[in-house]
Protein backbone atom coordinates (compact mmCIF):
# COMPACT_ATOMS: atom_id res chain seq x y z
CA UNK A 1 0.00 0.00 0.00
CA UNK A 2 1.27 3.50 -0.84
CA UNK A 3 2.23 5.79 2.02
CA UNK A 4 -0.19 8.64 2.64
CA UNK A 5 0.99 11.92 1.11
CA UNK A 6 2.53 14.28 3.66
CA UNK A 7 0.43 17.17 4.91
CA UNK A 8 1.32 20.52 3.37
CA UNK A 9 1.46 22.72 6.50
CA UNK A 10 4.04 20.69 8.47
CA UNK A 11 6.01 20.57 5.19
CA UNK A 12 5.98 24.36 4.92
CA UNK A 13 7.07 24.74 8.53
CA UNK A 14 9.86 22.24 7.90
CA UNK A 15 11.04 24.08 4.78
CA UNK A 16 11.07 27.40 6.64
CA UNK A 17 13.14 25.72 9.35
CA UNK A 18 15.60 24.47 6.70
CA UNK A 19 14.63 20.80 6.72
CA UNK A 20 15.82 18.94 3.58
CA UNK A 21 13.24 16.15 3.90
CA UNK A 22 10.42 18.70 4.13
CA UNK A 23 11.76 20.43 0.99
CA UNK A 24 11.68 17.08 -0.86
CA UNK A 25 8.14 16.42 0.36
CA UNK A 26 6.99 19.89 -0.68
CA UNK A 27 8.37 19.47 -4.21
CA UNK A 28 6.72 16.03 -4.49
CA UNK A 29 3.39 17.41 -3.26
CA UNK A 30 3.37 20.39 -5.61
CA UNK A 31 4.96 18.69 -8.62
CA UNK A 32 1.73 17.47 -10.32
CA UNK A 33 0.02 20.85 -9.91
CA UNK A 34 3.01 22.88 -11.12
CA UNK A 35 3.83 20.61 -14.06
CA UNK A 36 0.20 20.54 -15.20
CA UNK A 37 0.11 24.33 -15.37
CA UNK A 38 3.57 24.54 -16.92
CA UNK A 39 2.75 21.92 -19.55
CA UNK A 40 -0.37 23.74 -20.68
CA UNK A 41 1.08 27.25 -20.62
CA UNK A 42 4.78 27.05 -21.43
CA UNK A 43 6.30 28.86 -24.40
CA UNK A 44 7.18 26.65 -27.35
CA UNK A 45 10.90 26.84 -26.98
CA UNK A 46 11.19 26.32 -23.25
CA UNK A 47 11.27 22.86 -21.74
CA UNK A 48 8.74 21.80 -19.13
CA UNK A 49 11.50 20.89 -16.72
CA UNK A 50 13.23 24.30 -16.96
CA UNK A 51 10.04 26.25 -16.49
CA UNK A 52 8.95 23.91 -13.69
CA UNK A 53 12.24 24.52 -11.88
CA UNK A 54 11.78 28.26 -12.32
CA UNK A 55 8.37 28.02 -10.68
CA UNK A 56 9.73 25.96 -7.78
CA UNK A 57 12.60 28.43 -7.33
CA UNK A 58 10.06 31.25 -7.00
CA UNK A 59 7.95 29.21 -4.58
CA UNK A 60 10.97 28.61 -2.32
CA UNK A 61 12.19 32.22 -2.63
CA UNK A 62 8.83 33.70 -1.72
CA UNK A 63 7.79 31.16 0.87
CA UNK A 64 9.00 33.28 3.85
CA UNK A 65 6.64 36.08 2.78
CA UNK A 66 3.65 33.73 2.26
CA UNK A 67 0.75 34.59 4.55
CA UNK A 68 -1.61 31.77 5.42
CA UNK A 69 -5.27 32.68 5.09
CA UNK A 70 -8.15 30.62 6.46
CA UNK A 71 -10.07 28.75 3.80
CA UNK A 72 -7.53 29.49 1.05
CA UNK A 73 -5.42 26.44 0.22
CA UNK A 74 -1.67 26.93 -0.21
CA UNK A 75 -2.02 25.36 -3.68
CA UNK A 76 -3.93 28.44 -4.88
CA UNK A 77 -0.93 30.62 -4.10
CA UNK A 78 1.38 28.18 -5.92
CA UNK A 79 -0.95 27.92 -8.94
CA UNK A 80 -1.09 31.69 -9.26
CA UNK A 81 2.69 31.94 -9.03
CA UNK A 82 3.03 29.22 -11.69
CA UNK A 83 0.58 30.97 -14.04
CA UNK A 84 2.40 34.29 -13.64
CA UNK A 85 5.75 32.65 -14.29
CA UNK A 86 4.36 31.08 -17.47
CA UNK A 87 2.90 34.41 -18.57
CA UNK A 88 6.28 36.11 -18.07
CA UNK A 89 7.95 33.34 -20.08
CA UNK A 90 5.39 33.69 -22.90
CA UNK A 91 5.90 37.46 -22.94
CA UNK A 92 9.66 36.96 -23.29
CA UNK A 93 9.26 34.53 -26.18
CA UNK A 94 9.90 35.62 -29.74
CA UNK A 95 7.45 34.57 -32.40
CA UNK A 96 8.38 31.69 -34.67
CA UNK A 97 8.95 32.69 -38.31
CA UNK A 98 5.92 32.40 -40.59
CA UNK A 99 5.51 29.16 -42.51
CA UNK A 100 3.88 28.54 -45.87
CA UNK A 101 0.79 26.40 -45.64
CA UNK A 102 2.40 24.05 -48.15
CA UNK A 103 5.14 23.36 -45.57
CA UNK A 104 2.67 22.34 -42.87
CA UNK A 105 2.11 18.66 -42.14
CA UNK A 106 -0.93 17.10 -43.81
CA UNK A 107 -2.70 16.79 -40.47
CA UNK A 108 -2.11 20.47 -39.68
CA UNK A 109 -3.51 21.49 -43.07
CA UNK A 110 -6.50 19.23 -42.53
CA UNK A 111 -7.20 20.86 -39.16
CA UNK A 112 -6.92 24.33 -40.72
CA UNK A 113 -9.38 23.26 -43.46
CA UNK A 114 -11.73 22.01 -40.78
CA UNK A 115 -11.50 25.25 -38.77
CA UNK A 116 -12.15 27.39 -41.84
CA UNK A 117 -15.07 25.15 -42.89
CA UNK A 118 -13.41 23.89 -46.04
CA UNK A 119 -14.00 20.38 -44.82
CA UNK A 120 -16.88 19.07 -42.78
CA UNK A 121 -15.17 16.28 -40.88
CA UNK A 122 -12.38 16.65 -38.36
CA UNK A 123 -9.10 14.88 -39.20
CA UNK A 124 -8.75 11.45 -37.63
CA UNK A 125 -5.60 10.37 -35.80
CA UNK A 126 -3.86 13.72 -36.09
CA UNK A 127 -3.54 14.53 -32.39
CA UNK A 128 0.01 15.90 -32.51
CA UNK A 129 -0.89 17.97 -35.57
CA UNK A 130 -3.83 19.37 -33.60
CA UNK A 131 -1.40 20.53 -30.90
CA UNK A 132 0.93 22.03 -33.50
CA UNK A 133 -1.72 23.97 -35.45
CA UNK A 134 -3.28 25.15 -32.21
CA UNK A 135 0.09 26.47 -31.02
CA UNK A 136 0.72 28.19 -34.35
CA UNK A 137 -2.64 29.95 -34.20
CA UNK A 138 -2.18 30.86 -30.53
CA UNK A 139 1.11 32.54 -31.38
CA UNK A 140 -0.93 35.17 -33.21
CA UNK A 141 -2.54 36.22 -29.93
CA UNK A 142 -1.21 38.44 -27.18
CA UNK A 143 0.42 36.57 -24.26
CA UNK A 144 -2.58 37.34 -22.02
CA UNK A 145 -5.12 36.09 -24.59
CA UNK A 146 -3.01 33.00 -25.18
CA UNK A 147 -2.95 32.27 -21.47
CA UNK A 148 -6.72 32.60 -21.15
CA UNK A 149 -7.41 30.32 -24.13
CA UNK A 150 -4.96 27.71 -22.88
CA UNK A 151 -6.41 27.76 -19.38
CA UNK A 152 -10.02 27.64 -20.55
CA UNK A 153 -9.86 25.46 -23.65
CA UNK A 154 -6.87 23.23 -22.97
CA UNK A 155 -7.13 22.91 -19.20
CA UNK A 156 -10.90 23.29 -19.03
CA UNK A 157 -10.86 25.92 -16.29
CA UNK A 158 -13.96 28.04 -15.76
CA UNK A 159 -13.80 31.83 -16.05
CA UNK A 160 -13.98 32.03 -12.24
CA UNK A 161 -11.00 29.69 -11.89
CA UNK A 162 -9.01 31.66 -14.47
CA UNK A 163 -9.92 34.80 -12.57
CA UNK A 164 -8.54 33.28 -9.36
CA UNK A 165 -5.35 32.13 -11.08
CA UNK A 166 -4.62 35.38 -12.86
CA UNK A 167 -6.15 38.00 -10.60
CA UNK A 168 -8.25 39.37 -13.49
CA UNK A 169 -12.01 39.78 -13.08
CA UNK A 170 -14.24 36.89 -14.23
CA UNK A 171 -16.11 39.20 -16.62
CA UNK A 172 -12.79 40.42 -18.02
CA UNK A 173 -11.70 36.81 -18.55
CA UNK A 174 -14.92 35.97 -20.44
CA UNK A 175 -14.59 39.06 -22.64
CA UNK A 176 -10.93 38.30 -23.27
CA UNK A 177 -11.73 34.69 -24.21
CA UNK A 178 -14.50 35.79 -26.58
CA UNK A 179 -12.26 38.32 -28.32
CA UNK A 180 -9.38 35.86 -28.46
CA UNK A 181 -11.55 33.23 -30.22
CA UNK A 182 -12.76 35.87 -32.68
CA UNK A 183 -9.14 36.74 -33.39
CA UNK A 184 -8.29 33.05 -33.80
CA UNK A 185 -11.06 32.68 -36.39
CA UNK A 186 -9.70 35.68 -38.29
CA UNK A 187 -6.16 34.31 -38.10
CA UNK A 188 -7.26 30.94 -39.50
CA UNK A 189 -9.16 32.59 -42.35
CA UNK A 190 -6.26 34.93 -43.16
CA UNK A 191 -3.85 32.01 -43.16
CA UNK A 192 -6.04 30.21 -45.70
CA UNK A 193 -6.30 33.31 -47.90
CA UNK A 194 -2.66 34.41 -47.72
CA UNK A 195 -1.16 30.93 -47.85
CA UNK A 196 1.07 31.31 -44.82
CA UNK A 197 0.68 31.17 -41.05
Amino acid sequence: MDAAPPDIWPCLEGVLAGDDAAACDLVCLLHPLVMKIVRANRPNRMSEEDLGQEVFAKVFDRLPSYERRDGVPFEHWVARLAVRTCLDAIRAENRRPEVRLADLADGEQAWLDYLTQRSETSPMGAENDAVEIMERLLEGLSPEDRLVIRLMDLQEHSAAEVSRLTGWSAVGVRVRAFRARTRLRRLAQEARQKGHL
Partner: protein, 99 residues
Amino acid sequence: MNPFDRRWRELARTARAAQRKSLPEVDALLGPQLLRRGMGSSRRGEAVEELWRWYGVRGLVASMTILMVCLALAWRAGREPALGRPAVENAVAETFSWL
Protein backbone atom coordinates in the same frame (compact mmCIF):
# COMPACT_ATOMS: atom_id res chain seq x y z
CA MET B 1 -22.12 28.72 -30.47
CA ASN B 2 -20.82 29.67 -33.92
CA PRO B 3 -19.30 27.00 -36.20
CA PHE B 4 -15.74 28.18 -35.60
CA ASP B 5 -16.11 27.97 -31.82
CA ARG B 6 -17.55 24.47 -32.08
CA ARG B 7 -14.69 23.36 -34.34
CA TRP B 8 -12.11 25.10 -32.18
CA ARG B 9 -13.39 23.23 -29.14
CA GLU B 10 -13.01 19.97 -31.02
CA LEU B 11 -9.44 20.91 -31.93
CA ALA B 12 -8.77 21.77 -28.27
CA ARG B 13 -10.26 18.44 -27.16
CA THR B 14 -7.98 16.56 -29.56
CA ALA B 15 -4.94 18.60 -28.47
CA ARG B 16 -5.81 17.90 -24.84
CA ALA B 17 -5.86 14.18 -25.50
CA ALA B 18 -2.42 14.41 -27.15
CA GLN B 19 -1.01 16.22 -24.14
CA ARG B 20 -2.22 13.62 -21.66
CA LYS B 21 1.12 11.89 -21.32
CA SER B 22 2.76 11.13 -18.01
CA LEU B 23 4.38 13.94 -16.08
CA PRO B 24 8.19 14.06 -15.92
CA GLU B 25 9.85 12.50 -12.88
CA VAL B 26 10.27 14.58 -9.76
CA ASP B 27 13.87 15.64 -9.24
CA ALA B 28 14.54 14.42 -5.70
CA LEU B 29 17.41 16.88 -5.23
CA LEU B 30 15.50 19.94 -6.37
CA GLY B 31 13.89 20.70 -3.00
CA PRO B 32 17.09 20.56 -0.90
CA GLN B 33 19.00 22.49 -3.62
CA LEU B 34 16.46 25.31 -3.64
CA LEU B 35 16.33 25.28 0.12
CA ARG B 36 20.12 25.63 0.42
CA ARG B 37 20.14 28.36 -2.24
CA GLY B 38 17.42 30.25 -0.35
CA MET B 39 19.20 29.85 2.98
CA GLY B 40 22.49 30.95 1.39
CA SER B 41 20.92 34.09 -0.03
CA SER B 42 19.15 34.89 3.23
CA ARG B 43 22.44 34.39 5.11
CA ARG B 44 24.14 36.70 2.62
CA GLY B 45 21.34 39.19 3.14
CA GLU B 46 21.78 39.03 6.91
CA ALA B 47 25.54 39.53 6.56
CA VAL B 48 25.05 42.59 4.35
CA GLU B 49 22.54 43.97 6.84
CA GLU B 50 24.99 43.38 9.70
CA LEU B 51 27.80 45.10 7.79
CA TRP B 52 25.58 48.06 7.05
CA ARG B 53 24.52 48.30 10.68
CA TRP B 54 28.13 48.33 11.86
CA TYR B 55 29.83 50.39 9.20
CA GLY B 56 27.04 52.36 7.60
CA VAL B 57 26.18 54.54 10.59
CA ARG B 58 29.83 54.92 11.60
CA GLY B 59 30.75 55.82 8.03
CA LEU B 60 28.00 58.41 7.97
CA VAL B 61 29.19 59.95 11.25
CA ALA B 62 32.81 60.01 10.01
CA SER B 63 31.77 61.67 6.73
CA MET B 64 29.75 64.28 8.60
CA THR B 65 32.70 64.99 10.92
CA ILE B 66 35.12 65.41 8.00
CA LEU B 67 32.59 67.66 6.29
CA MET B 68 32.21 69.82 9.40
CA VAL B 69 36.01 70.12 9.78
CA CYS B 70 36.33 71.11 6.12
CA LEU B 71 33.55 73.67 6.51
CA ALA B 72 35.22 75.11 9.61
CA LEU B 73 38.58 75.34 7.84
CA ALA B 74 36.97 76.98 4.83
CA TRP B 75 35.16 79.45 7.06
CA ARG B 76 38.38 80.31 8.90
CA ALA B 77 40.27 80.68 5.63
CA GLY B 78 37.48 82.94 4.37
CA ARG B 79 37.81 85.24 7.40
CA GLU B 80 41.58 85.66 6.99
CA PRO B 81 42.45 88.28 4.35
CA ALA B 82 44.04 86.37 1.55
CA LEU B 83 45.05 89.47 -0.31
CA GLY B 84 47.39 92.03 1.21
CA ARG B 85 49.80 89.34 2.30
CA PRO B 86 52.27 89.21 -0.50
CA ALA B 87 54.17 86.39 1.12
CA VAL B 88 56.27 85.49 -1.89
CA GLU B 89 57.20 89.08 -2.57
CA ASN B 90 58.06 89.65 1.10
CA ALA B 91 60.16 86.52 1.23
CA VAL B 92 62.00 87.48 -1.94
CA ALA B 93 62.55 91.02 -0.70
CA GLU B 94 63.78 89.74 2.68
CA THR B 95 66.09 87.26 1.06
CA PHE B 96 67.64 89.77 -1.25
CA SER B 97 67.64 92.73 1.15
CA TRP B 98 70.98 91.81 2.72
CA LEU B 99 72.63 91.47 -0.66
